[in-house]
């Protein structure tokens, strides 16, 4: 269909549907190819242009009305800017099905509907099945709205107000029964502990003061197991040893707390110091090793000689060399670990730099591509114009060629040149007599060849 028809069709389409499919809350992920590039929602009633780009019908119609130059029958496609005249409503069924399958929340979630349904079913769900849709009250005299699930078979109005005969409160008709049986504050109930009968409204107040209610001893958090009636609790607290100890426990507790926190503090500081110590040790070991290396083997021979006499004496005591060796080895591992750590850091820095470079390179390539594309377009245009000019130049030549006399002279000339070219290409050994024959004595074989050639 052409653009005019399409616009007319979009305008006449029934727009007073209940639901705006674009404002639905999507639950499932959907493929980005199902997204209309104009409204960035899954296609709604998609249509297709000549260039195979698909848009929502309503998006495209608003784009056409804005971008078409005054009633022309062409319109540039929003995606590729190709001029297009026809809009096709026949979009592959597959595409529509995929869009309809996207799971969405019922739009009546504000009313309390928790259902998740495929998008294609939203319309029918809201119209027929959703219990939370607001309908006008079945009673014509009532102007309130009712959820469709609350409209019973008997089509009764549920908004009529009835006054409770006990408490003088206004209660809705359909809640009245529950109110009368369970909620009305005037109803009388018995206290579970003292069996005094009080009204429901005053029950809370009664429980606060009822002498029969069992209360735990105030020292229950310090393990006093006694639970006793309110009336007797004062007497118990007089005699309870744990209540007497209460303030002391309190003080102990706070002290423990403060000690714990200071402990934690000290632990942290200790860790920091240990770290620092390890660092210092590793640097020391490094420096001593360097010195040892530089001193060379001469010293080691000397120390061996020195150690020999003292070896016997050192058997019983701790060998300082041993300790040094163990310290050295542990320090070497820490040193290696730190080295490893720094190397790792370097590697991560390098990887950062590489990703950075990557982004830059891709950007640069993109820009270069754009520039090259433009250049190509220019070159194309230039080639085209050259072609035009050549054609224009060729035209008079061709016209001349068709004229009679000129043809013959031209063609004979052409033939002459052609033979010349052919002979020169054949090589100097059998040059034809036309141009060079006077310069050389003609051989008998030449004549024969010439004859076959002409």
């Amino acid at each position: 269909m052409n653009l005019q028809d399409f616009l007319a069709m979009e305008e006449s389409r029934d727009r007073d549907e209940l639901i705006d499919l674009r404002s639905l809350d999507l639950v499932s992920e959907y493929d980005s190819h199902l997204m209309c590039p104009i409204c960035h929602c899954p296609f709604v009633e998609p249509v297709r242009l000549q260039c195979d780009h698909v848009f929502c019908g309503s998006c495209l119609s608003s784009a056409i009305t804005t971008f078409r130059s005054a009633d022309s029958d062409e319109f540039p496609c929003p995606s590729c800017r190709n001029p297009t005249q026809k809009v096709s409503a026949s979009v592959p069924r597959l595409l529509i099905n995929m869009c309809d399958e996207i799971r969405v929340r019922c739009p009546l979630i504000t009313e309390g509907c928790q259902e998740i349904i495929p998008r294609g079913h939203v319309q029918s769900h809201v119209e027929k099945y959703c219990g939370y849709r607001l309908l006008p009250c079945p009673d014509d005299s009532c102007d309130q709205m009712t959820r469709s699930k609350d409209v019973g078979m008997d089509q009764k109005c549920i908004h009529r107000v009835r006054r409770c005969s006990h408490c003088e409160e206004d209660i809705l008709e359909h809640e009245y029964e529950e109110h009368e049986k369970e909620l009305c504050p005037i109803l009388e109930v018995a206290c579970v502990d003292c069996e005094t009968v009080v009204t429901r409204g005053a029950l809370q107040e009664h429980i606060e003061s009822c002498p029969e209610v069992a209360l735990p001893c105030t020292a229950s958090k310090y393990a006093c197991p006694v639970k006793i009636r309110r009336a007797d609790i004062a007497a118990h607290e007089q005699s309870c040893p744990i209540v007497a100890m209460g303030p002391y426990f309190e003080a102990q507790n706070t002290r423990l707390m403060s000690l714990e926190s200071s402990m934690r503090h000290l632990q942290q500081r200790n860790e920091i110091f240990e770290d620092g110590l390890a660092n210092i040790r590793s640097t020391l070991v490094e420096s001593t090793r360097l010195r040892a290396n530089s001193n060379g083997s001469g010293q080691s021979a000397q120390s061996a000689r020195e150690q020999q006499p003292s070896a016997r004496a050192d058997v019983s005591t701790d060998d300082p060399a041993d300790i040094a060796a163990s310290v050295f080895s542990s320090n070497a591992t820490t040193y290696l670990l730190s080295l490893h750590e720094s190397l790792r850091e370097e590697v991560s820095q390098l990887s950062h730099a590489i990703t950075d470079l990557d982004a830059r390179a891709s950007m640069a390539i993109m820009n270069e591509c754009l520039r090259i594309k433009e250049d190509m377009a220019h070159t194309n245009a230039a080639v085209n114009s050259v072609r035009m000019q050549v054609q224009w130049l060729m035209n008079p030549r061709l016209h001349q060629g068709t004229r009679g006399g000129a043809v013959r002279s031209n063609s004979s000339e052409n033939e002459g040149t052609r033979t010349q070219m052919a002979s020169s290409a054949a090589g100097p050994s059998h040059t034809s007599g036309q141009s060079l024959g006077s310069l050389r004595p003609r051989r008998p074989s030449d004549g024969g060849r010439e004859g076959t050639k002409l």
Binding site: I38, R360, R371
Partner: protein
Amino acid sequence: MFATKRLSKMQEHLPPGIAIVKCDNLEEWQMDIKILDQNPLYLDQTYRLKFTFNNKYPIEPPEVQFIQSPASTGTPRSIPMHPHIYSNGIICLDLLGSAGWSPVQTVESVCMSLQSMLTANNRDERPAGDKEFIATNRRRIRDINFVYEDDNV
């Protein structure tokens, strides 16, 4: 209408060199863009763009311009030098006009177009008649009729 949803959807993944500064309402957004290659005109600089949307976006183009921000705010921003950018930040670019705009464009695509427009430039100058334009222009951006005569930059 549905533009609301679309604007908030793009925040998820942004192209390199583009960052959102302010997008708390759907009338005005601010974006920061960086030029990622080694063009000496824009090396290590960040520029701030202001997008103003009307309620017909994306059918109609947003108003886009560079804005300045003084050094005292902690994020100094200037107006980049370019033969198509006036010193008050107004940009002369055909795809921001109603003739060159297409509704499939997004905030990201506009930012990327501006990045490449700056990248490809090597002229350290303002448009002809810059001073005069700034002194006399009182129109809103969408009402200015630019003539897109220069295709080289």
